[in-house]
């Protein structure tokens, strides 16, 4: 057993890695759903249906799957997955309500997850294993953060989620060096900056279309910034206890996601703060994604109050018409500049 799949960015991949597995994020594929139709209704989002399709087609080279509490669809997918594969399945109950109570409960869940991984691996996770895994990801995430501040690299971040972190590290280092070298000489900032906020988007071409329309992207996607960004700075951990506490804090303060409910409506505040540096906002939402679509109308209203133009792109994977997206993006660009 080598590779452990996961869906949600709230999954503590550091633990998976520390157990000696490669954490691999499972994302929807490029094929239309056919086999999954027998297991899931068509009003389920294409990330969940598409991932199941890949499982049923035998495309996934993983031995176990972790379902971190996210949304109702993923919650149900766990059992469907288990019944239709030979994979080991674990569900990690990440709190939905993020407040003072969450930390202790999450730490308990992290220990349970650790035991499960040890059982799968047949070997104990030491505090040294976890420490080095935490350091590895902190370093990689630091690089990704720097890259995304300058110019999001969606190919790279997809690799960071689906390949071994150590492999991607060198690539990320190279990219950072390139960007640092370029930075001084290219006043290449385009005239319109746009915050792209939304669900998963493994189709890199969609992001390219946004750039080709003339925008430079500030990212808030589940497969972008939200994969690596947390408010909690990396720190030295010297025992299992410290490591688990650090992980709990890190993930509780991960860039806010609409599947969580935050004290003081943190997600709205976070987005409204981030849009100060942009001219417009694109909502890149997966059709049927309830958490995002519930936030959308009120968030849009707040953004409009701030004078920001917004565009809603509702996606279903695989994308049928890039041409249509292109036309809408071009029209939106004209409106913004």
């Amino acid at each position: 057993m080598r590779r452990v799949g996961y869906f949600c960015t709230f999954t503590p991949k550091e633990l998976i890695k520390a157990a000696g597995f490669t954490p691999v994020r499972i994302l929807t594929g490029n094929q239309h759903v056919s086999l999954a139709n027998a297991h899931l209704q068509n009003y389920c989002c294409s990330q969940v249906r598409g991932s199941l399709e890949r499982l049923l087609r035998g495309e996934l080279d993983i031995d176990a799957a972790v379902f971190t509490r996210t949304c109702d669809s993923l919650m149900r997918l766990a059992d469907i997955w288990e019944r239709n594969s030979n994979m080991l399945v674990h569900n990690l109950e990440f709190p939905t309500k993020i407040d003072g109570r969450s930390r202790e409960f999450l730490i308990r869940e992290l220990y349970d997850f650790k035991s499960k991984l040890e059982e799968w691996r047949g070997k104990e996770i030491t505090s040294e294993d976890l420490k080095s895994s935490i350091e590895l990801y902190s370093y990689l995430e630091g690089l990704l953060d720097e890259i995304f501040r300058i110019k999001p690299d969606y190919e790279l971040i997809l690799r960071a989620q689906t390949e071994d972190a150590e492999e991607v590290l060198r690539e990320a280092e190279k990219k950072v060096r390139e960007l640092r070298d370029l930075k001084g000489e290219r006043g290449e900032q385009k005239d319109a900056r746009v915050l792209v906020t939304g669900s998963v988007c493994p189709a890199v071409d969609v992001l390219s279309l946004i750039e080709e329309a003339g925008f430079s992207i500030v990212d808030d996607l589940c497969t972008g910034t939200r994969f690596f960004k947390s408010d909690v700075e990396s720190r030295d951990v010297n025992s299992m206890e410290e490591a688990m506490e650090f992980l709990a804090e890190k993930y509780l303060r991960k860039a806010p996601c609409p599947t969580k409910s935050y004290d003081g409506d943190w997600r709205f505040k976070y987005i409204l703060e981030r849009v100060k540096e942009v001219d417009a906002v694109i909502f890149l939402l997966l059709k049927f994604c309830e958490p995002h679509f519930f936030d959308y109308p009120q968030l849009k209203k707040e953004l409009e109050k701030m004078g920001k133009k917004t565009l809603l792109l509702e996606l279903e994977f695989p994308i049928v018409s890039y041409e249509q997206l292109k036309t809408r993006l071009e029209a939106f660009y004209e409106m913004v500049v």
């Binding site: 919650m75 709190p95 109570r101 969450s102 308990r108 309830e290 519930f294």
Partner: protein
């Protein structure tokens, strides 16, 4: 003349619910609350609980679903969102509904043991009304109820007591609370006894009767009302049994309904089954409320509430759900299951295809939505059901 044999109790229920909503308009302290939340705390603190889900069902039953959904949709709420939420948000936006809108909340209580949809829905309400929102966060019980889950929920219940004391300015009275729990248990017992009447052959009631008469156990659980009401309803059903009267004449097939009702089609569906001598003798939806009976004979009420409200039907993994369905199949001696694949309720509907393979009798899936009739086709549903009933009869 409709072929549906109406229960006298149903008109009584309408009076009860009308009074319930009217009283709500006079109430000083109102909380909007999700259907799976521990309402016992609210009654114990003299807070008036109002159920947007029940209200949305009422909107659905009066065929106003598309109307109020549309208001929310015009505001940007997607048509793919839960139709209860759309109806409720639409109704709250314009302040009207078949009962003249709901009284404004002083605060909101949301428990995600039925879905995570309610968390988002109540966040929207909290921003709309600018009132505090208390979320009771319940871990999902995929395989087993873990002690750590119960601990987490129990701690939050104590947080909720403090929250209540703060917003009401009153102290939590434990003896009053124990009284409410006792009333809650008595109410649920009386309710369960009504549902169990469906075991008789022929059954004196259908799940449509259960749906129509479920509001008191949802909204008034913890008060005297459901105890009396369900007691009377049971007597009426006993009378039918004594006289050999079934809800469906010549009951040939006994069925179980899965998922929330299709509120705007109760009548036509009722008649369809009557015409086919098929009786839906029970359902997974109304039976979900009987789970509260786990509370009985427990010395620590808060701890057992935490346990009870975590182990709620919709919060269970598929194996546990299928076990529960198989128990109902056994208790009510049913021949088949009618599964409503409900566009509006993902946690209830996703996994139904697996459940079909895990249960002991044949089943059929029909596609619909609980309140949004725009996505419903009676002709399609009838064709599927007819084929299914034929298969069962042969």
């Amino acid at each position: 003349m409709s072929r549906i044999k109406k229960l006298k109790a149903t008109s009584k229920m309408r009076e009860i619910m009308l009074a319930y909503y009217m009283q709500g308009k006079q109430a000083e302290e109102v909380s909007w609350v999700t259907s799976g939340a521990p309402v016992e705390f609210l009654y114990a603190m003299d807070v008036y609980p109002i159920y947007p889900e029940n209200h949305a069902a009422l909107i659905g039953a009066t065929k106003m679903g598309p109307n109020f959904s549309q208001i929310a949709e015009n505001e940007g709420f997607s048509q793919d969102l839960c139709s209860y939420a759309r109806c409720d948000i639409g109704s709250a936006m314009v302040g009207s509904s078949p009962i003249g809108g709901l009284p404004k909340p002083n605060f909101l209580l949301c428990c995600n043991n039925i879905c995570n949809t309610v968390v988002k829905w109540y966040e929207v309400l909290s921003r709309m009304f600018k009132v505090p929102l208390f979320i009771l966060d319940v871990p999902f019980v995929r395989k087993e109820l873990r002690e750590s889950y119960v601990n987490y929920v129990e701690e939050q219940l104590y947080d909720f007591i403090r929250f209540l004391e703060k917003v009401t300015g009153e102290e939590f009275d434990e003896s009053r609370f124990r009284e409410v729990i006792s009333l809650s248990i008595q109410g649920v017992n009386a309710y369960r006894d009504v549902l169990l009447m469906g075991r008789h052959k022929p059954s004196p009631l259908t799940c449509f009767d259960a749906f129509l008469n479920m509001a008191p156990i949802v909204c008034l659980r913890g008060t005297e009302t459901p105890i009396g009401f369900y007691g009377e309803l049971k007597e009426e059903l006993e009378e039918r049994v004594k006289n050999g009267v079934g809800a469906v004449d010549n009951e040939e097939i006994r069925l179980l309904w899965d998922n929330i009702p299709i509120w705007y089609e109760l009548k036509r569906l009722s008649e369809f089954f009557i015409d086919h001598n098929a009786c839906l003798v029970a359902d997974t939806y109304t039976n979900a409320w009987t789970g509260i009976l786990r509370l009985e004979n427990k010395s620590d009420p808060i701890r057992s509430l935490a346990e009870t409200y975590t182990f709620i039907y919709l919060n269970l993994g598929l194996e546990l759900m299928a076990e529960a369905i198989n128990r109902l199949i056994d208790v009510y001696d049913v021949d088949g299951v009618v599964i409503h694949s409900n566009r509006s309720c993902k946690p209830y509907s996703f996994g139904q295809y697996e459940i079909q393979k895990m249960i002991d009798v044949p089943s059929v899936v029909i596609e619909a939505d609980m309140t949004d009739s725009r996505v419903f086709s009676m002709a399609q549903v009838e064709t599927r059901l007819e084929a299914f009933l034929e298969r069962l009869k042969s």
